[in-house]
């Protein structure tokens, strides 16, 4: 391994020296050394004039950064509910057993660490894992077995068969956005021909709304950004696709990167930005090289850099910033904090990023899909786009479909498509529920399958997970409750504490000790989170519980204990240590968890 001081020196000369690049340095160091060594923290502290405390605070915030060494082979199993439905738990245990490791604990020889991680966005070809940042999809016992052999033999991941690391696009249905190709540079050319104002009107007329889920008018957003006076403006693409069950940005980044960068460049031309940032989730590190290559090709084609397409004063370039494993950074203001090298704590809003974002400058921050759509609207016009969709939701939406269906993958539909139609198309039958828009979304029962995907009906950021009648829906609820407990940033009381309380209560239901009283508590806690949380994560985190309590009461009722109250903890377990230390096995050494009263 390289000398740390030299390594850090190299990164500094490569990407520059500034406190807001802290997360980028940490990412690079983590990747090289499988952790951020104390020595590196001291060196960064000196060079950035930041106390080690603050660097540690950042490291401890992100799931993919560590202060102690992980193994030479750093393995993380994706643990979304869809991975679980495909059997990841057995494979995880099998791998741990074969390698002789405990989860999260590096093996004594420092060779390997195995952990679980939040959804990695490979739900259509799970179960999936990351090995030193590379995706292994469609895991099977056979693949695990061979993997163990390679690890024990010390074969570098770079020399593992390429077939292991194949991630398919799995595009199953194309509509306007994926079908109608544009020539590289044509959107920028269109902007140059029309000028910013006309282009803005075109976008506004198209009715394009943010594809991340919130649905704010993109034209209006860019207009506000353009009209906010400042010495600098920024364009930021949110590629922190962390919502469980979503993988459409993965496909766009893989096969539509030119259109994405084209859209960002059009946005830059409109708002007057010289710099753009692509915030790429750490789980998608494996695509970075190709994305950098695309950027370089665009620079060479005069589509990025100084005097774009020969237009004097049109200067714009794009940098890729890596995330480091934090769902909350998908929230736009947390993402900006993260871009500035800090912990991803959502800011107070107002002011909104559009007037006061990255480095407190006006920032046009949009989803990958939004930029791709904007590029095409710039070329084909507003009518091309809003000729499909509904009156309030124009155009199309990419859905990431996974779970119980014959053909998981990417489906592009005009807005207004019914859930029932989607289920038919992807070959789902005997469906018990659909989780639309991820863990933070809505749980839709069969009696609501007539409903439409649209901002005004069932709004979706793109995740569409299907559960058939054989599935235990409570496992989904528990998976999401754990996810939110793990991903809460911890800033505000209701999300930080309420999330953990909800998680514990769902676990109590799972083991059959919860009562009606506990369900009422879940409802009460959930409502407080919904009403009082600081940001969208906190206020949507109780959704899967509140939704299923209302629409799938059976998954709870069948598990309730038949008394009015049960203890909050396991009495028998609470005596385990005392029993062991005293060696007692008499009647007084045991207490039932419940009592008849």
């Amino acid at each position: 391994m390289p000398n740390i001081e030299e390594f850090i020196g190299d990164i500094f000369s490569e990407i520059g020296e500034a406190p807001d690049l802290l997360l980028q340095y940490l990412h690079a160091i983590q990747h090289e050394y499988s952790h951020v060594p104390e020595e590196a923290i001291q060196l960064l502290s000196e060079r950035l004039k930041t106390p080690p405390m603050k660097i540690n605070a950042v490291i401890d915030f992100y799931s993919f950064l560590h202060r102690t060494a992980r193994g030479e082979y750093d393995i993380r199993f994706s643990d979304n509910i869809t991975d679980r439905m495909l059997g990841n738990q057995l494979l995880f245990k099998s791998l741990c057993k074969k390698l002789g490791v405990e989860p999260d604990v590096p093996r004594a020889d420092g060779k390997v660490t195995v952990s679980l991680t939040s959804c990695t966005g490979i739900c259509d070809q799970g179960p999936a894992m990351l090995v030193n940042g590379l995706v292994v999809s469609k895991l099977t016992e056979k693949r695990i077995h061979k993997m163990v052999g390679r690890i024990e033999a010390g074969i570098p991941v770079a020399n593992w068969p390429k077939s292991l690391f194949v991630v398919k696009d799995n595009i199953r249905r194309k509509d306007k956005l994926l079908n109608d190709d544009i020539i590289k540079g044509s959107a920028i050319g269109a902007l140059a021909a029309t000028g910013g104002e006309v282009m803005l009107e075109r976008l506004e007329n198209s009715g394009l709304r943010g594809r991340g889920g919130a649905g704010f008018g993109s034209g209006l957003k860019w207009r506000l950004c353009r009209e906010t006076e400042a010495d600098k403006h920024y364009v930021v693409c949110n590629a922190d696709e962390g919502e469980p069950g979503t993988f459409k940005d993965r496909v766009l980044l893989n096969s539509y990167a030119d259109e994405l960068f084209e859209g960002m460049t059009v946005a830059a031309g409109i708002v007057g930005a010289k710099k753009g940032l692509l915030y790429l989730r750490r789980e998608y590190l494996y695509m970075r090289e190709a994305l950098e290559k695309t950027l370089q090709e665009r620079r060479e084609a005069k589509l990025l850099g100084k005097k774009i397409l020969g237009h004097k004063g049109f200067n714009f370039d794009i940098e890729i910033h890596m995330g480091a494993g934090a769902y909350i950074c998908g929230e736009e203001s947390a993402l900006i904090e993260s871009l500035e090298g800090k912990r991803g704590i959502p800011r107070d809003r107002p002011p909104f990023p559009v007037t006061c974002g990255y480095k407190n400058k006006p920032t046009a921050l949009n989803n990958v899909e939004t930029f791709v759509a904007a590029a095409k609207i710039a070329v084909f016009g507003a009518d091309w786009y809003h000729s499909v969709g509904t009156s309030q939701s124009s155009g199309t939406k990419l859905l990431s479909i996974s779970g119980d269906c014959e053909r998981p993958g990417i489906y592009e539909y005009p807005f207004g498509v019914t859930i029932r139609q989607i289920l038919v198309d992807c070959g789902a039958s005997d469906t018990q529920a659909v989780q639309v828009s991820g863990a933070a979304g809505s749980t839709i029962p069969p009696q609501e399958f007539y409903r439409k995907i649209a901002f005004e009906d069932v709004s979706s950021g793109g995740s569409f997970m299907i559960f058939n009648q054989q599935r235990d829906l409570l496992k989904m609820v528990l998976n999401f409750a754990r996810f939110f407990t793990h991903e809460s940033c911890g800033f505000c009381t209701p999300c930080r504490v309420g999330g953990r309380l909800l998680n514990d209560l769902v676990e109590k239901v799972m083991v059959g000790y919860a009562t009606r009283y506990d369900l009422k508590e879940m409802e009460r806690i959930g409502q407080v989170m919904k009403k009082t949380a600081h940001c969208g994560l906190g206020s949507t985190a109780p959704n899967p519980i509140l939704d299923t309590l209302a629409k799938f009461p059976g998954i709870y009722a069948t598990r309730l204990h038949n008394t009015s109250h049960t203890p909050a903890f396991d009495m028998t377990k609470a005596l385990d240590v005392s029993r062991l230390l005293t060696g007692r096995e008499d009647e007084g050494a045991y207490v039932e968890r419940t009592d008849e009263y």
């Binding site: 911890g490 800033f491 505000c492 009403k531």
Partner: protein
């Protein structure tokens, strides 16, 4: 009253100036909105969420929400009271708040707000987390058990003391306060007893050494009058150096 620069709080007209939050204007008008992480001397934080009010049907944190003319603000309905009570109960079960064994008792803002709300028990299931006590500093003890992550010491140390002794680290339920010192202990930091950061702690997390139970029960800050009348802890803190310490900061 000119309705162009007033909003209504529980039916009363509250005047406000440009740039005021609901909290700013309410406090100036003598209307109490329960809060823990807010201190008028510092930029609002909005993390404890106790100051949520209902504004035109939506719950909002009054410490961060800019006042607007004509807003209808509910600060006293039963629904708001109940939500605040549950938020308080969350804070109580999250840490280890053993009031009978805490020197801050009687002059603690967490306790005082809970009295004001009428909270009789923490009600929820206690986490009983294992948290340490840092007694490495000659004049000050830090009790992680009692810290509610309000971030006031972080802000005070950064903005007033210009030392940046504190930061919040970790994520989610594992978030905790950390100290800027070579060994991570408070003793090695630049914190001094007279620092603003010591004064602003609303709970018994940052406590003076060598002092304790100075004020007789019955005469403590919140013994007879509620916080709505008495005001915040920080407004009454007058740190006096208890002993001459041998600590030198070079």
């Amino acid at each position: 009253m000119n309705t162009e620069n007033t909003f209504r709080l529980d039916g009363k007209d509250i005047p406000f100036k440009k740039g005021d939050t609901i909290m700013d204007a309410a406090l100036r008008a003598g209307e109490y909105i329960p809060h823990l992480c807010h201190n008028p001397e510092f930029k609002p934080h909005g993390s404890c969420r106790l100051c949520v009010v209902d504004v035109n049907g939506r719950h909002q944190a009054s410490c961060t929400l800019p006042a607007e003319a004509g807003m209808e603000v509910d600060n006293s309905s039963d629904a708001i009271r109940q939500r605040r009570e549950l938020l308080l109960q969350m804070l109580f079960v999250e840490g280890n708040h053993t009031c009978p064994a805490c020197e801050k008792s009687g002059a603690c803002q967490l306790q005082a707000v809970a009295y004001y709300i009428g909270m009789l028990s923490p009600h929820l299931t206690h986490f009983f987390p294992k948290r340490s006590i840092d007694a490495s500093h000659p004049d000050i003890v830090f009790y992680h058990n009692r810290c509610i992550l309000c971030g006031l010491c972080v802000r005070a140390s950064e903005q007033v003391d210009r030392k940046s002794v504190f930061a919040i680290s970790g994520r989610g339920i594992d978030s905790k306060l950390v100290f800027n010192s070579p060994d991570g202990k408070l003793g090695g930091s630049e914190l001094e007893f007279t620092d603003k950061a010591v004064e602003v702690c609303p709970v018994g997390a940052i406590m003076p050494k060598h002092l304790g139970y100075e004020t007789p029960v019955g005469q403590r800050l919140y013994d007879t009058k509620p916080i709505s009348v008495v005001g915040d802890v920080a407004a009454h803190s007058k740190p006096e150096k208890p002993f001459i310490s041998d600590k030198s900061h070079e």
